[in-house]
Amino acid sequence: MIEFNRFKLGNGLTVLHHFDAATPMVVVNTLYDVGARDESEEKTGFAHLFEHLMFGGSVNIPDFDAPLQHAGGESNAFTSNDITNYYDILPLQNLETALWLESDRMISLAFTPKSLEVQRNVVIEEFKQRYLNQPYGDVWLELRPLAYKEHSYKWATIGKKIEHIEEATMDDVKAFFRKHYHPANAILCIAGNIPLEETKRLVEKWYGDIPASLKPQRILPKEPAQNEFRELTIERKVPNDAFYYSFKMPERRSFEYYVTDIISDALGREKSSRLYSILKKELKLVTSVNAYITGSLDEGLLIIDGKLSDGVSFGQLDGALWKVLEGLKTELMSEEETSKLLNKIRTVKEFQEQGLLNRAMNLCLYELLGDANGVNEENTLYQSITAEQIKTVSNQILRKENCSLLRVKSIKE
């Protein structure tokens, strides 16, 4: 159970407070309700580039990191297709430094040309390092536009192409900030050995005078229902053929989301999962196979990926794989298997609640979904899932017309 308090400032900032007397550290976590899905198709990669710029100095403070390090703390951030999340961890006695820094960059950034120029280069190197210069690194750049035709999930957080990052202008950056970075679009969590009243006083002190803006309305193109099997084969200089089956799945707020999560676990999370034991161990068709979900807030993807063994064709794999999927659709899962999957979920939840930062990030994410307390209800939701529901949802999702298949064909150098 993660206890928390919630209050709101006059300018619209939502604040969560989580008390933990056992730690000498404090976490300041800020979630901005903006991700790559909020970009325009002509300027992708922007939410992520912007995350980098958030460390390039703010209106009153030339450098973000140095004062935090001076206070014994550290900071980082990540951008997904849905959100951008920033966190600071520092000794409790220096909490105000983090509030000072975070509130100042919520007022405005410094917007120096140098910062934009350098971070453009850094992000381009990141693009190369993570997506272009790795075997199989570019599959998400290919898979997303195959699975999504309209919704902005069709591009990756890093962006569609390097040119979009190269072409980013200062005007673009400023407009992005004005639209998405203000109190009403943020959720702040303070976690540590600090009483609620003191938290209120300090948050009011540093954030209270930040001007309010209206929360931007999110109108994203709706992804039409997929009614046909899609496939794409790309050739790359990689050692082995690889496959990525992706299935559309329900949005984050629905109950079926949790059921789909369990389905992906049953298929390929562990070394006792169905795909692993049949395709790898029994039939030896693959050298690796995994199933997982993207965890997206809007309609997301269940992915099955893996690499073929030498001499095995995509066709051989395809037949065997669909047979495994059919099993979930036609037969009720045994109680032994459901209880195995749910026991694993329970362990994961317990370990997740270990870390202070994890707790703060999860509270913010659930608040974005509607209620921070969702973090405490999640395990009960999972534990309520039945074999019938697993079968029903398997039939909804694991259909050929709901599938987009990317094949990576190995070509020799």
């Binding site: 009153n60 001076h70 190197e125 190369k128 005078d209 082995n240 790898k280 195995k340 270990q354």
Partner: protein
Amino acid sequence: MNVRSQQPETKQVDQISFVKPHIFDVTQYVKLLWMKDVPNETVRLDLFFDAGITRGRESIPAIVHSLLLSGTDEWSSVEIHKQIDALGGFLDTDISFETAVVSIYCLREHLRKISEIVANAIRGLAFRENEVEDVLRSMRQQFAVNQQKVKYVAQQQFRKYLFASNEDYSTISVEADYDRIRVSEYKKYWKEHYLNGLTRITLVGDLEQDEVDALIDLFGKWAIDGEAQYAGDFKFQPQRVDFPKEDALQCAVRMGRFLFPKNHPDYIDFQVLNTILGDYFGSRLMSNIREDKGYTYGIGSGMMDMNHTGYFVIVTEVGKEVLENTLHEIRFELKRLQNELVPEEELELVKNYMLGQLLKNADGPYAMLDMYNSVDMYNLTLVFYDEAIQKIKSITPERIQLLAKQYLNVEDFLIITAG
């Protein structure tokens, strides 16, 4: 109104409470460290073996490590994993230079059962032919993928050249290691390094004493009979070696040299120097090469601990066209540390940052156990950290300059590039 241009007052971390785990002697050579105060149901058990990648040739240490849970006469690997999964347990295995670790994560009510499953699986390891084939097939493919990663190539070649004087340490994997099944050699290695190779046990969890005793009974039989033997005193040739890869977009760089083991009197002071140079976000390498030049997504430096020595390494991946510029800037930063005193303000910041990190690294039973273990493994005690606080607080710019002159001469470095 707040004065927003001025940082609120800060206080340096003054005291850190380091908690010592309970320590049991499993045998004369093997200890069990136990951190008992855990405010929830979670448990972690780690088994350490004298079975790191330097303990054998032809990738046998890594192959046997991957085979540990691959089945007994009675159970297949899938069946073993099913039993563990049914209890909600997670296994994690890790192999490094001188040590291999098998870890169990679970809720405390299941620890005993899961431990027994793992113990039976390792003790009864049958080297079933189909399982061995499967593991070799996967490893061979992973090897092929890794060969395409400039980062991996640089890391492997750095090892090969740095440890050149000792073949056990310098021999890197080749594809042929995975081509032939050598069950008798695997068996010999498994008996020597696992069934008689346990070097320590660590445990975090709110358990009863009798549960801990049961673990000692269960795994104590594998205790190593004598001190594990490690090499030291390696020799290498300072030089630059390039491994070109034509279609690569980036170049990976590894450069460094040997230093000293963790009990060396310069260890903490050098750690301050290392932090300034490359071990935090505001470090000189990051500030110059990422935040000023934009040559890379990341660059850092670190100290690697080994039992009888340690080494220093700078790590980055940069755009191919800026490789030489990057090496130039690295040299510039090394020279700058030798020729100029670190400004007081920067040193103050690094001191505060390092103390904050120490405080964080001691926060909670899991972090604290790892922290304790990482000194106890080298026969040091918590005094190491108390001294660290004092040394960090009192180090001077002059002392840092002296260390830079002694240890950071680029002429003494091995430089490997791949890409």
